[in-house]
Subunit: 421 residues, 2 copies
Amino acid sequence: MHESVGKEEIMREEQEIENQIAIMLKGVANHTEVSEIREKLREAKKENRPFRIKLGLDPSAPDIHIGHSVVLRKIRQLQELGHIAVIIIGDYTGMIGDPTGKSKTRKQLSREDVERNANTYMEQIFKIIDRDRTEVHYNSEWLSKMNFGDVIELASKCTVARMLERDDFNNRYTNHLPLSVHEFFYPLMQAYDSVAVKADIELGGTDQTFNITMGRNIQRDYGQQPQLTLFMPLLEGIDGVEKMSKSLGNYIGISEEPAVIYEKVMKIPDNMIIKYYNLCTDVHPDEVDRIQKMLDEGANPRDVKMMLAHEITELYTGKENADQAQQRFETIFQQNKVPNDALTILIDPASPLMHGEQMIDFLVNNKQYKSKSEIRRIFNHGGAKLDEEKVTDERSIVIGEGVHILKVGKKNFYKVQLQGN
Amino acid sequence: MHESVGKEEIMREEQEIENQIAIMLKGVANHTEVSEIREKLREAKKENRPFRIKLGLDPSAPDIHIGHSVVLRKIRQLQELGHIAVIIIGDYTGMIGDPTGKSKTRKQLSREDVERNANTYMEQIFKIIDRDRTEVHYNSEWLSKMNFGDVIELASKCTVARMLERDDFNNRYTNHLPLSVHEFFYPLMQAYDSVAVKADIELGGTDQTFNITMGRNIQRDYGQQPQLTLFMPLLEGIDGVEKMSKSLGNYIGISEEPAVIYEKVMKIPDNMIIKYYNLCTDVHPDEVDRIQKMLDEGANPRDVKMMLAHEITELYTGKENADQAQQRFETIFQQNKVPNDALTILIDPASPLMHGEQMIDFLVNNKQYKSKSEIRRIFNHGGAKLDEEKVTDERSIVIGEGVHILKVGKKNFYKVQLQGN
């Protein structure tokens, strides 16, 4: 009997480890060999200790959008499995910054500035990862204590040839663009962070492959077990083409209004649905497989996308807000059957013209109606609705965030949006 | 009247500066533009301060021979002109050592070891340069105080491309041989030494061109006036072909016996006479010109070489010793007319055979005499002289340093020398 219980126990543990691996690798672009991950998970299990998941952060990073969240969500999923996030604020690394070809070192921020930046940033991050299972360090803790000799020791761990394999270094060196010796230290310092916090695993975007792999090698050189590495794909923005970024306007901010998040998700192309499920939600990989199957079997992508939009909105604003956003979307867009090619009226919030007036100008300039007086007449007679509410006086209109629907008469639909929103 | 005195004064000062430049550049292979040297000398004169002449030393260097002395003699000449030597013992740089392709950093010597090495080394150096006009520093004074940020700042002053222009770096990089990032710091640290001691001028062999020029550039980056640079040619050994080095056995040690120094100088090829005058003596450039002229006009090179040998022997052992060495040379080599192609008997000091016995073996093995008993007979009858003294019993022979002459009968001459001497 005993033996059989032991076997069951082992089976159960092995299953749990395989489940952890499945969750760990969901949507991942590249990673350490599965056999090494399995081995390390078994060892940690045996020693009854969680993984230390390293995440290095540049405190000068902008507001967080779901492009950034890809890595953070993965960490959250690993935290749910019992592991610990070790966040490293790169205050010391920030002196150099990830190299961009500038020959000068950055001006060092004051301690106060660094901490203020870091706090703002952490507030956002804790919307995704679990504060209670997170350790926070500044890398000045260890880097500022290193003397010239320690730096030399660190630099001796990497060859120039290896360093010049980094794409941007190689490009600049080959094209005779300036590349200063100190820039080699960004990857080296970041790698040393892994030694300092004894990282078991480090996550990053595929654009961090060089730096994170360096961490693995440097740990080995300092006599530590090398960290596992997980590289997440870069997420396309809602246009489905370019990498998500604030400057391209194709981003979904994690602090945006529920309705805005919901609507933005609804804009992604159908071929992005599964990728967003994998990278922007915590939905279990088995469930994602089922959704893929649904799509394969002919489910309407719009319905699936609504599930996705609800899922993502709920993650950042809670279930109730997600429900409301969904209801609003259904009311405005679906029940009215707003055509996909409806014209969009962009409202300039900086213009001296009132929002209603800008709408009327747009409709006349785009030959939708003959004259402003014609439109005003329709408005006065109750023939226009903004988000299902009658507008009788255009002066009362104030457009907020997100997409709004102007319906004129029975069948003319227009989307209305603030510029840059 | 006044005006005319002022003019004379200026003329005199200008002449003195031109004289300094002539002494400074005697035998130099490469140097900063003369106009810049002149300008800097004028400024120093105006501020009534001597030049600070930097000399970096690796405390692991071996016994000093006159190959090393080339740079030291130049410094001595500059000291005679009123300038100050600033010697930097590279105790901190020694951690890396001038890169040779080793991927490990050197084990740091204990403070005691470093100081003992340095003291032994300095004792030799002070046979050449003037102790009273010398400042001595260890570069750990400033380098050990640098933190990671300071190191980054230093590294930012040089591009990777510039660094890879250094011949040995370039060769290793191009040929896929290991070149570690930390090796870049040897030139950078050495360059920073110039900043730390505010060097006005740095001297070195032509093989130090990269490092010393880096010092000039880094001083500029740190807002200092760049140091002047003087590069001395590498001195051929007494074979007149290979660079002088202990391992090749073609060296003249500055602590050798007067007779040995004298004889070794006498061995150099005639075409090396002027180069040795320029690099290994403090003879004024005008005087060297006269000697050149003497040779051009048909003077016997052997006579000139004897002047040179006396000059160099006197530098390291004093006039009396030089006179004696010269006399000995004349007695043994000239009066006896020892042929240049006389066979050399090498005595192995580690052999269990006595020196005399080894000599007899050599003479028989080389078919000079038929048998050992024949030689012994000649010895017993007073027919052999070692350095002009009769040897009647070969067991009494003990060969010391330097070249000795064995004369057997009236006309058979042999040089006798210890192996490796």
